[in-house]
């Protein structure tokens, strides 16, 4: 109209193409980094690996020859201890980070965490109950770890279900009541854990404490295959949610006017987040701050556009968890630091830094 504008369609198109290419390149770099970390992770740890002996063990196995004790042990540590937990770390990291990304997009708040709606609180309360019961009734100990995982999973979904029921209003689900209900459910879960801890004996108490710190120590191939098989459709769904999340970023009314079935997608996002975090928490305990911090890093490195942000979160989440797991095994051999502590130790200060920056600048990444 009045002011001349100097962007031609061709220019804009080129800019958008260039941006897409840049993000794709960054994503490739991230994948490469993941592969490198995977190799480092397979090498690092208290147990000294020797590539030569591993190859010997492999060729013996392929030729169906018996292994020496040394070869067997090396092969065992490599294939049954390290490899499964490394893959588990990647799946869990991707799930948690993508959940965080979806959660922050949905509530339009970069400081949101999947734990906000009671998922980890519910999981921890249920797991603590199961741990105390197993301790009290030793006959339950046979399938103990499965009972704990199942309880944690059910507990997490139950907590979310309660939150959703409470937050439901005739006009749909209000995000503010969702968060308040989450706070209340988390407090309730905390009370429950407190009561159980008070009544439980020393053994159960220690187990509850260790469970809430999170660990990848007990990972087996069957668990990895289980999580992997469930992760693929979940990750697919998260990718499908990229454009809806972009619309949510403009506000719920705006999203509705732009053709998004807001209440349907809100439910879908919440349940998907609940399901994936419950899955990760049930098998590995509470692993904090991945869901909060990774989307921030991804937004700084990539873009706020969920088209790029979502896959970037998946890749960076996997990388962060891989790095944290490697650090937890390699930093203080022969000790292993619970992975929840490593991720929180990195995540909490970073979170404080973000808060401080937000206060100073008014705008945050």
């Amino acid at each position: 109209m009045l002011m001349h504008t100097n962007v031609s369609p061709v220019q804009l198109q080129l800019t958008l193409y260039a941006r897409r290419k840049k993000h794709l390149r960054a994503f490739m770099v991230a994948l490469l980094l993941a592969v490198i970390l995977l190799l480092v992770g397979l090498q690092a740890g208290s147990f000294k690996q020797s590539i030569g002996i591993l190859f010997e063990a492999l060729s013996h196995k392929l030729n169906q020859r018996a292994l020496s004790q040394e070869q067997y042990l090396q092969w065992y540590v490599f294939s049954e201890l390290r490899a499964p937990r490394i893959f588990m770390a990647m799946f869990v990291g991707a799930l948690l980070a993508m959940s965080g990304c979806a959660m922050q997009g949905l509530v339009r708040n970069p400081l949101a965490d999947p734990g906000l709606i009671g998922i980890s609180g519910g999981a921890a309360a249920a797991a603590a109950t199961a741990l105390a019961l197993i301790n009290h009734y030793p006959q339950l100990a046979v399938g103990g770890q499965y009972l704990i995982a199942l309880s944690a999973f059910v507990g997490a979904l139950l907590a979310v279900w309660v939150v959703l029921i409470v937050a439901r209003t005739p006009a749909g689900m209000a995000i503010s009541s969702l968060i308040l209900a989450g706070v209340a459910v988390n407090a309730l879960a905390g009370t429950h854990i407190g009561a159980i801890s008070y009544m439980a004996n020393d053994d159960a108490l220690r187990q509850i404490t260790y469970w809430t710190m999170g660990s990848l120590g007990g990972v087996t191939w069957s668990k990895v295959l289980f999580v992997g098989a469930l992760s693929l459709p979940i990750i697919g769904l998260f990718m499908h949610l990229r454009q809806p999340l972009n619309l949510f970023a403009l506000g719920e009314n705006e999203a509705q006017c732009m053709g998004l079935e807001v209440s349907k997608y809100k439910r879908l996002i919440l349940w998907l987040v609940a399901f994936s975090v419950a899955l990760a928490t049930a098998l590995c305990g509470i692993i904090g701050f991945v869901g909060l911090v990774v989307p921030h890093i991804a937004r700084t490195l990539f873009s706020a556009d969920h088209k790029y942000l979502m896959p970037a979160c998946g890749a960076l989440g996997a990388i962060l968890m891989l790095g944290a797991d490697t650090a937890s095994r390699a930093l203080f051999p022969p000790l292993e630091i619970p992975i929840g502590i490593v991720t929180s130790a990195v995540g909490a200060p970073f979170f404080l830094y973000l808060l401080a920056k937000q206060k100073a600048g008014g705008v945050n990444a």
């Binding site: 732009m258 053709g259 706020a304 705008v363």
Partner: protein
């Protein structure tokens, strides 16, 4: 194109809208005027399909607005809020791209459409900027542009003189943050789209700015329609006194739309 029959909405004991009837055709520019809290924005939200609990019928096109599939409706009706907040670091062109979210077209096609609208609203120079860092007026222009981009027909369809036939743009205070120059320019651009068939319903307090553009004027008071019709017939000292409770002075103008002052 748009038909409202007996629209009422109450929130608890408080009546927001009370038996409204109105209709709007392609190319119409309807202005809704009334004091604060008289139900102007509520009316727009009902038409946009954001309020589920009203009684009465809102018919858009051939069917009730609630019966439209969401994606189809989004291609035919756009809504610009008075305030637009984006929480994340989206860039101007990314927000405009979202306007084409329901269309199947390639990047070259959508870029062409976006640049066309951006040029008309002179926001091309804002490309590459984080929308959160834009001024209120700049952001308002970006969101109006996004709404227009949303209504543009698919690039694969042949372009006609009546691109916006049967489409509806709902504007809530579209010029509230704009400066002296852009207020008028914005109205000119929108009027231009009306000539291509766009129906516009615009809530505004800047009566003197919008009246010359309006083909229809509705005067709202306490959720009721006080008067509707052409600007000349609705804008009388009597009506305005009834609506706002103060007696204005009307200065007659050449185009039969009076200038209102205290």
């Amino acid at each position: 194109m748009l038909n409202l029959q007996n629209i009422s909405l109450s929130h608890g004991a408080f009546t927001l809208l009370d038996g409204l009837n109105l209709s709007l055709s392609s190319g119409d520019f309807m202005t809704v005027i009334g004091e604060n809290g008289c139900g102007k924005s509520t009316l727009l939200r009902c038409i946009a399909g954001l309020h589920a609990s009203y009684s009465g019928n809102v018919t858009f096109g051939q069917r009730s607005v609630d019966a439209w599939p969401a994606k189809l409706l989004a291609k035919a009706r756009a809504f610009v809020n008075q305030h637009n907040q984006v929480q994340f670091a989206f860039l101007t062109e990314e927000v405009l791209q979202l306007g084409r979210i329901n269309q199947h077209e390639n990047l070259a096609q959508s870029s062409a459409l976006i640049c066309q609208v951006a040029e008309q609203l002179s926001i091309g120079h804002l490309f590459g900027r984080d929308v959160r860092t834009l001024s209120g007026g700049e952001r308002q222009r970006v969101f109006i542009a996004k709404a227009l981009v949303q209504l543009l027909p698919n690039a694969n369809e042949a372009k006609t003189e009546r691109d916006f036939e049967g489409k509806l743009l709902l504007l809530d205070e579209p010029t509230s943050a704009l400066d002296f120059r852009f207020q008028k320019a914005m109205m000119d651009v929108i009027k231009g789209f009306c000539q291509q068939g766009l129906g516009v319903m615009c809530v505004s307090h800047d009566i003197n700015l919008v009246l010359p553009y309006a083909t229809h004027v509705i005067l709202l008071a306490n959720g009721r329609c006080l008067a509707q019709g052409s600007a000349g017939s609705v804008i009388t000292a009597q009506n305005l006194h009834q609506c706002f409770g103060v007696m204005p002075k009307l200065i007659p103008q050449a185009n039969s739309v009076p200038y209102i002052t205290h």
